[in-house]
């Protein structure tokens, strides 16, 4: 179970990233943020976002058009 869950379904670039950045502020260090999105571009974008910000993309999956991401907030 993630510490914070962000529902970004129906939102288009760059809103899932911007809202994830905000949501990460609510997550404790080493805690996790779960994001649900429908934007197919969000896969590449969350990978890039995590590489750049040093947060860890623990997993991502796609099920029936819903993309799920789990990000671990770096300390």
């Amino acid at each position: 179970m993630a510490d914070v869950t962000l529902d970004a379904k129906g939102l288009n670039c760059p809103l899932p990233i911007l809202k994830a950045r905000k949501a990460l502020k609510e997550v404790p260090d080493n805690g996790t943020l779960e994001i649900l999105a429908t934007d197919p571009g969000s896969v590449a974008d969350f990978e890039a976002f995590c590489r750049q910000t040093g947060n860890e993309l623990l997993e991502h999956s796609e099920n029936d058009g819903i993309y799920q991401f789990l990000i671990k907030k770096s300390a």
């Binding site: 129906g10 939102l11 288009n12 670039c13 760059p14 809103l15 990233i17 911007l18 994830a20 950045r21 934007d39 976002f49 590489r51 750049q52 910000t53 040093g54």
Partner: protein
């Protein structure tokens, strides 16, 4: 790679609805990725700092502009783009699409840029030239000129002109 070491600046020179997107999308995203961002608003980009935005797309000058309609993509012959009301009509269509597809409004992106502490500089010369008043602009902006921008650009890793 530490994000803190990178920074970005954008010169914003265009103020139509469609052209307002790239600078605000890139500025907010870069800020979300930890980069300090400066936006320099000059010429037709300056009105993007006005409190009340009344943005329109301009069909004339964008000959490749096509909208999805009735299962296809339809453009306007250049001649028709000069007819009064065409820009307003195109703008309504574009704003409907933006809402339907979950794309942020410019107002929303600008608010997020302010929240993310993106530095926004209004070009003093453009304000004089087109008679804009700082009181009509959003709060928290700086006023500056070319030298202000150049100083910032010398320190930035990414400098964009849009």
């Amino acid at each position: 790679m530490s994000a803190e070491e990178k920074s970005m600046s954008i010169i914003v020179t265009k103020g139509s609805l469609d052209w307002a997107y790239p600078p605000f999308i890139l500025a907010t995203t870069a800020a979300a990725m930890g980069l300090p961002v400066t936006m320099f608003f000059t010429f037709y980009g300056l009105p993007l700092l006005l409190k009340n935005l009344k943005l329109q797309v301009t069909a004339a000058g964008n000959p490749a502009m096509k909208m999805p309609m009735m299962g296809m993509h339809m453009g306007l012959p250049n001649l028709l783009t000069a007819i009064p009301g065409v820009d307003a009509g195109c703008s309504v269509m574009m704003k409907n699409l933006i809402k339907k597809k979950g794309v942020a409004s410019i107002e929303e992106l600008r608010e997020m840029a302010v929240e993310a502490e993106v530095r926004m500089i209004a070009c003093q010369m453009t304000m004089d030239l087109f008679e804009y008043d700082k009181a009509d602009m959003i709060d928290g902006i700086d006023i500056g000129g070319a030298a202000t921008y150049i100083e910032c650009a010398t320190q930035a890793d990414i400098n964009l002109f849009i």
